[in-house]
Symmetry: C2
Subunit: 284 residues, 2 copies
């Protein structure tokens, strides 16, 4: 574990250091990055971490700071090591701007291989009116201390997964049965979510949070790999400090694909992010 003694802060944390982007001199909109081995599941880099990195590049490239809606199509698996993010401003409007970004890594000859392509519309969350009209309810999840952390026994994610040490993930016991061979069969996953060094959430870390829980397929009894084809996230509100609650539901597994619908709620009981992904179902 790489916990720091003092609580990390937004801008000075593991997550911020590992999503650092370096503008390339003379190439506007191009950013070099290093995919950290700290955010891997087995050997692949976590898709939410990748998305946060691309999100940071778009935040730098676009005239508006905050992701409002981010659509990502996953092309090839990422591995720890160097990467380059190429961004393009598609449209700069008054309240919203739209950008595109691709993250590339390099093959043995140094040629760029595209990992993920993203279309996103950005705005300013702090400029939005306070009006809320919602019938959405936070996920029903037991108190933090009654949920299961990595220390509880079975790792939340099987295999040698470095990301487990970067997150303080506490699973609802009702959706953790798969870890002891007794999945609920419902296709649900719920957890408390914090970064391990205590850094509070911001819009960029929400892009990580929507894709950081074990796959809902585990709760259906399918313990294999469920690679993301496409993941779209809406950031609806700047999150308040404190732990997040994440609830994910799969309703329809069909034809070898499934959707994962995630909601992220903050400590002020606000729905801060909604996401949906299409993933390949693990083979039964």
């Amino acid at each position: 574990m790489s916990h720091t003694a003092a609580q990390a802060t937004i801008g000075d944390s593991e997550f911020d250091r590992d999503t650092t982007i370096a503008p390339r001199a003379g190439e506007p909109g191009v950013y070099d990055a290093e995919l950290s081995a700290g955010w891997t599941i087995i050997s692949a880099v976590n898709g939410g971490y990748l998305l946060a990195l691309v999100g940071r590049a778009l935040s730098a490239a676009l005239p508006h700071p905050d992701p409002f809606t981010v659509s990502a199509h996953y092309l090839t698996s990422s591995v720890p090591g160097p990467a380059v993010i190429r961004t393009q401003v598609v449209r700069a409007g008054r309240n919203l701007s739209t950008g595109q970004a691709s993250l590339f890594q390099f093959d043995e000859n140094g040629a760029e291989v595209e990992r993920i392509r993203v279309l996103a519309s950005y705005g300013d969350l702090d400029g939005l009116p306070d009006t809320v009209h919602t019938v959405a309810k936070p996920p029903v999840i037991p108190p933090y201390e009654d949920c299961l952390g990595a220390e509880a026994g079975p790792a939340p994610i099987p295999g040698s997964s470095a990301i487990v040490d970067r997150l303080r993930l506490r699973l609802d016991p009702a959706t953790a049965g798969w870890a002891v061979g007794a999945p609920s069969g419902k296709g649900e996953m719920r957890a408390w979510f914090e970064l391990a060094d205590g850094r509070d959430a911001d819009p960029l870390s929400l892009l990580l949070a929507v894709d950081a829980l074990p796959p809902t397929a585990f709760d259906l009894g399918l313990l294999g790999w469920a690679p993301t084809v496409e993941l779209t996230t809406h950031i609806r509100c700047r999150p308040a400090p404190g732990p997040l609650r994440v609830g994910i539901v799969t309703r329809n597994l069909a034809g070898g694909f499934l959707e994962e619908d995630a909601e992220v709620w903050d400590s002020a009981d606000r729905l801060v992010a909604q996401s949906r992904q299409l993933a390949r179902a693990p083979r039964p």
Copy 2:
């Protein structure tokens, strides 16, 4: 109404004629098109119709025929008239391929103005296994004959909207109260959906179906324009012949934006499409 006497068929219908694309000689992946005035709401071209047109271009450009997941960011309003669709093959895999497309129109000087940019992953729906594991249920909607068509009185969409004549849309009376000044306040919209000339649904027309109902904001008592920022659609199954049922729900209107979650079910009771859009909320 432009009903034909005989039932139109896939490939020979209003929808097919109005989504015709013409490959440009010498420019691979570039397609000319004409946005038909038949699919407008007030003066703007319907976003689902646009998406179907772009979807057809991607189907021509990619090695796989069917949209699996299509993410569209809407940039500027489209108007009837000429357009050009520029596609790019991002990745061609064995089971899935990913493409990008932009639809442009032209300003007074002939310069291209981008209307919509799309990232999409395509596959072959007929090549998928038949396995289904679902807890999703079709929308609860009264029988076709008890729902409200355009002839029932108030137009399903207010104003002079040509698209009304292209669709056989029959609204659930429970979600049509806004038309007589009594919205339910729930943010729901449900309807039977067919093309007016009787053409059966296919994956491309599903891209139209997810964005063809009146906005859920109407059911919240907000009767203004709710422009789409981003719309992502998953096509999960090739639809069976016969009318579709479309259910749309908004759970969270906040900060001046709302999501619309749509499901489309076919006559065989299968969930054939899921979509979510982020839209600007009409001003109260």
